[in-house]
């Protein structure tokens, strides 16, 4: 188990190479090898969705993948969403969550954001029912979801311009 394998992966546009055990989870790799701790781990069995990231643009649960499986691929994490450090650089979804109070403790939030980015790209003008369906694979224990729904509606509006 102590054999290490080289993994090269592009995360938020930057290439990283690390030597890891084949069994290292992608979530642990991002958090503890690359220190990208914005991706959170809530259940480690693929239900809560907190660890969702984009793998080649598709939302996936990083706790259900091994780091070695993403060799040579491109990942986006929550750290890669905003275009800069200032509030006005936030992604419209981040803006929407902020304005609509779509987060409380904020632990599940990165997973929601990463699930919703491709959703809004595919469906720029979703109905409330479609939004709820899109959210239903992510668990939030604080908000009761309503303000997340409102945040997505707000973000969709912003993105449509």
């Amino acid at each position: 188990m102590n054999e290490h394998i080289a993994v090269t992966v592009t995360v938020n546009g930057q290439e990283y190479t690390r030597q890891v055990e084949p069994r290292m989870l992608l979530s642990d790799f991002l958090r503890h090898e690359l220190d990208l701790t914005g991706t959170h781990v809530g259940c480690e069995h693929g239900v809560c969705g907190a660890c969702t990231i984009l793998l080649n643009g598709e939302p996936v649960r990083s706790c259900l993948l091994f780091a070695v499986q993403v060799q040579g691929q491109a990942i986006t994490t929550v750290e890669g969403l905003a275009s800069g450090p200032d509030p006005e650089d936030l992604h419209p979804l981040q803006q929407g969550f902020w304005e609509a109070h779509g987060l409380q403790c904020g632990f599940c939030t990165p997973g929601f954001l990463m699930t919703l980015v491709p959703f809004l790209e595919e469906n720029p003008d979703p109905t409330e029912a479609e939004i709820r369906e899109a959210l239903s694979g992510n668990l939030c224990r604080c908000t009761g979801y309503q303000k997340i729904v409102e945040a997505v509606q707000l973000a969709a509006e912003k993105m449509r311009g």
Partner: protein, 786 residues
């Protein structure tokens, strides 16, 4: 015109950090040379430990240390009692608190038996699997009623029985009331266990810096200061050698204030032993066993009424499951006992409870903290009485409300804060009227429901009320400082778990100092920043810490005015604080920036006046004489699919009164989130234990948290009956949303099913359970106890 900050829906200061992945949670703490801890936990709920073989684990490369109870030496001791029993006459209380690692026997599944410390978490978990524990299984104590049978196995063999506590509280004479009653409603009610399931599991990083002789602990706790004090005492350190930091916490809901969790005792000690930083992060499965839970109670209750539906008295005798230990004292059952009376003028009350040890995870407060059970019993009794008397369910409630002129209203029993249960203020009838209007009660029952029923649809309405004792003592404090930059820092002792303290507290300061909310920097949950305090629990943050911050900001305001009055040579009354300056009213050019004033208040050379205090700074404390009572009404309309028994909530209304509102946006969030947890508790979430006490559904695959498609949009309205007990007039709001959802579901489901004789007297429900109830099937639980 001075900008107002109090009462405004200001978006949160903390959000940009959280939204960009920059906020620090405990598991984000990485220290050089850090070791990782994994625990070996018992699979059995009740067993004697015969032998623990750690040899293979110790030999595994990368393992630094392995500990069992024996290896802890003198450090092994039961944890402290967090809350002593209240001063109630003839109270019985047997203190049995959790131990760091089980010695001799295990008392609940998931109890830690051994601890592995290794170079990585992966290695620590590998080694934990190699530790062999030989157990002698013992029969489990699982069922509350069986637990008190004379021949029941005992969780704590040094006690005569599984009785942990016995408490009776009385107001007036229920026996007399019963004699005078036209009607007596008597029933058995069951409320079963769930778990808080904060999205972030627990975790601790401890770092003993040998060279500076200083311990730093990052802990997912709701109460960093008591943890600091307790650790210093246990480890033989000065409190000034220990710093406990509760950074961003991914949801608390109560279970993150259980002191001390075994892991909280062990990690700092291990770091001192090994002189290296150590980290333990709970996984979700551990969270199901090793984090505390709530809600197991069985009530036998009765209500005596007149023919016209006036309550003469209530009697309630109940059992409360405390799990394997009782470190949190009697807070949960006392809350049940004291919240049952609700919004109602009940002249006579007899309440008796027995707390029972079982071989299940420990019970401590979880959002609502026992209040749910009391509200469930009372609201269900009222529904049953209304049915018996042929009264409208809203009307029977209205007839029994405490009228507004009877406040303060003394319930003549002792609350969880050891103070008499006196409601400070309330105005219940307008809230009921508002809820009836928002749910369109008359139209629904007279037109909508009959029409839909004629179509064969199962639609029902529920409407219930509740109170919540919030904002209890003892006290909190805060230090407010104007910095040389003109920005303001505020340090308070409580921790924060998503309640928006960085913003709502900043609003309180902004209101006094005329500084933008975005320019106010809040520090919470760091014992090196503020020394005194109790913690975030019992819906008390806004009330107790909020009023302390308010007082601190007022004191700084007075300092600013005094100093500026001298500088500008005008009377204090002629000054105003606007946009980060203090200026002469009507003369905007005659102004000083607060930052400049702060610099002047902290001279580096020269002389100061005798007794001058440096800085524009003040520290203040607030301790209410007793809790402030919030209240509310929830109403909903739901439809049941008769094929699947799935429930669809069509409309949900909350009318809530928590006094003055600091930030309506944050309050809405608290209410909506609370309701979502209440819905989970009422219809989705239930922990199932085997007959031996093993938890059968310890994963999110099997324990269902409500999702975005289960929780409806919530229509809410707020009334403001200020509390006279604190200067801001606020009451707590954190737990309210979750409290009345059980009886609301029960009433609405009964109404929807409309089956003569069908009574819902238990929570949680589920589609499966509804089928059983409709078929008149007696579950094992009921068959056993009839």
């Amino acid at each position: 015109m001075t900008t107002r900050y109090f009462g405004k829906p200001i978006k949160r200061n903390e959000d940009p950090r959280l939204l960009t992945g920059q906020a620090l949670f405990v598991d984000d703490v990485h220290l050089p040379d850090m070791l990782h801890v994994a625990f070996v936990r018992s699979d059995l709920a009740h067993a004697r430990i015969r032998r623990i073989d750690t040899a293979a684990a110790r030999e595994r490369p990368g393992v630094v240390a392995v500990y069992t109870a024996e290896d802890l030496g003198d450090y092994w001791r039961p944890g402290p009692l967090l809350v002593p029993p209240p001063p109630v006459k003839d109270i019985v209380f047997h203190q049995r608190t959790q131990v760091p690692l089980a010695k001799d026997k295990v008392r609940h599944a998931g109890e830690a038996v051994a601890m592995v410390v290794a170079e990585s978490r992966y290695i620590a978990e590998d080694a934990a699997e190699e530790i062999f524990v030989e157990y002698e299984p013992l029969p489990g104590v699982v069922d509350l009623e069986e637990a008190l049978q004379p021949d029941a196995p005992r969780v704590h063999e040094d006690l005569e029985s599984n009785l942990a506590a016995h408490v009776i509280q009385e107001k007036g004479s229920y026996a007399t009331a019963r004699e005078q009653a036209d009607v007596v409603i008597s029933r058995r009610f069951v409320y079963d266990r769930g778990t808080a399931a904060a999205m972030e599991n627990r975790g601790i990083v401890a770092h003993w810096d040998f060279k500076s002789q200083h311990l730093t602990v990052w802990d997912t706790t709701q109460a960093p200061i008591p943890i600091r004090n307790g650790l210093a005492a246990m480890l033989g350190l000065s409190e000034h050698q220990v710093r406990v930091i509760a950074p961003f916490i991914g949801g608390g809901f109560g279970p993150k204030i259980m002191m001390f969790y075994p892991e909280e005792m062990l990690l700092p000690w291990v770091s001192m032993q090994l002189k290296r930083p150590v980290k333990w992060i709970e996984d979700r499965e551990e969270n199901f066993y090793a984090t505390t839970q709530e809600r197991g109670q069985i009530h036998q209750a009765e209500m005596a009424l007149t023919q016209d539906g006036r309550i003469l008295g209530v009697k309630d005798v109940f059992l409360h499951d405390t799990g394997a230990y009782d470190p949190y004292g009697l807070t949960v059952p006392i809350n049940s006992q004291c919240t049952l009376l609700g919004c109602y003028d009940v002249p006579n009350y007899y309440s008796e409870f027995r707390v029972v040890f079982t071989n299940k995870p420990i019970v401590t407060p979880y959002r609502g903290a026992g209040r749910q059970h009391g509200v469930f019993v009372m609201e269900r009794l009222l529904d049953l009485a209304a049915r018996e008397l042929g009264l409208d369910r809203a009307e029977i409630r209205r007839r029994n409300f405490i009228p507004p002129d009877k406040f303060p209203y003394n319930n003549q029993i002792i609350y969880q804060d050891f103070a008499p249960l006196v409601y400070d203020s309330g105005n219940y009838e307008p809230a009921l009227d508002k809820a009836l209007e928002l749910i369109d009660y008359q139209r629904f029952i007279q037109e909508e429901q009959p029409r839909l029923r004629a179509e064969g649809r199962k639609v029902g309405l529920g409407i219930v009320t509740y109170v919540e004792g919030t904002g209890i003592g003892p006290y909190e404090g805060a230090r407010v400082t104007v910095e040389a930059s003109g920005k303001v820092s505020v340090a308070t002792g409580i921790g924060t778990q998503g309640q928006g303290h960085f913003t709502s507290f900043a609003q309180l300061v902004a209101e006094q100092l005329g500084v933008d909310v975005g320019d106010i920097f809040l520090v919470t949950g760091d014992t090196d920043q503020f020394y005194w305090g109790a913690g975030t629990f019992a819906s008390r943050g806004a009330v107790v810490a909020g009023n302390a911050i308010h007082a601190g900001a007022q004191a700084v305001r007075r300092k600013i005015l005094k100093m500026a009055s001298e500088e500008l040579e005008v009377a204090e009354e002629d000054l105003e604080l606007v946009d980060g300056t203090v200026r002469v009213k009507g003369v905007p050019d005659s102004a000083i920036k607060l930052g400049e004033l702060a610099v002047k208040a902290n001279p580096l050379r020269g002389a100061v006046k005798p007794d001058a205090e440096p800085g524009l700074e003040a520290t203040a404390y607030f301790g209410p004489e007793r809790g402030a009572t919030a209240s509310g009404v929830h109403a909903m309309i739901l439809e049941i699919d008769p094929e699947t028994m799935l429930v669809e909530i069509q409309k949900y209304v909350v009318v809530h009164d928590c006094g003055k509102v600091i930030n309506p946006l944050i309050l809405e969030g608290q209410i909506q989130g609370g309701v979502a947890q209440g819905i989970g508790n009422a219809f989705y979430e239930q922990l199932f234990f085997s007959e031996n006490g093993t938890l059968l559904n310890a994963s999110f695959m099997d324990y269902l948290l409500p999702t975005a498609t289960d929780v409806p949009a919530i229509i809410s309205d707020h009334l403001e009956t200020p509390s006279p007990l604190n200067p801001l007039g606020v009451k707590g709001a954190g737990e309210a949303g979750a409290i009345p959802v059980g009886p609301l579901f029960a009433q609405a489901v009964e109404d929807a099913l409309d089956i003569p004789g069908l009574e819902i007297r238990e929570i949680p429900l589920s589609p499966n359970r509804l089928f059983e109830l409709i078929r008149g099937e007696r579950t094992e639980r009921e068959a056993d106890h009839g």
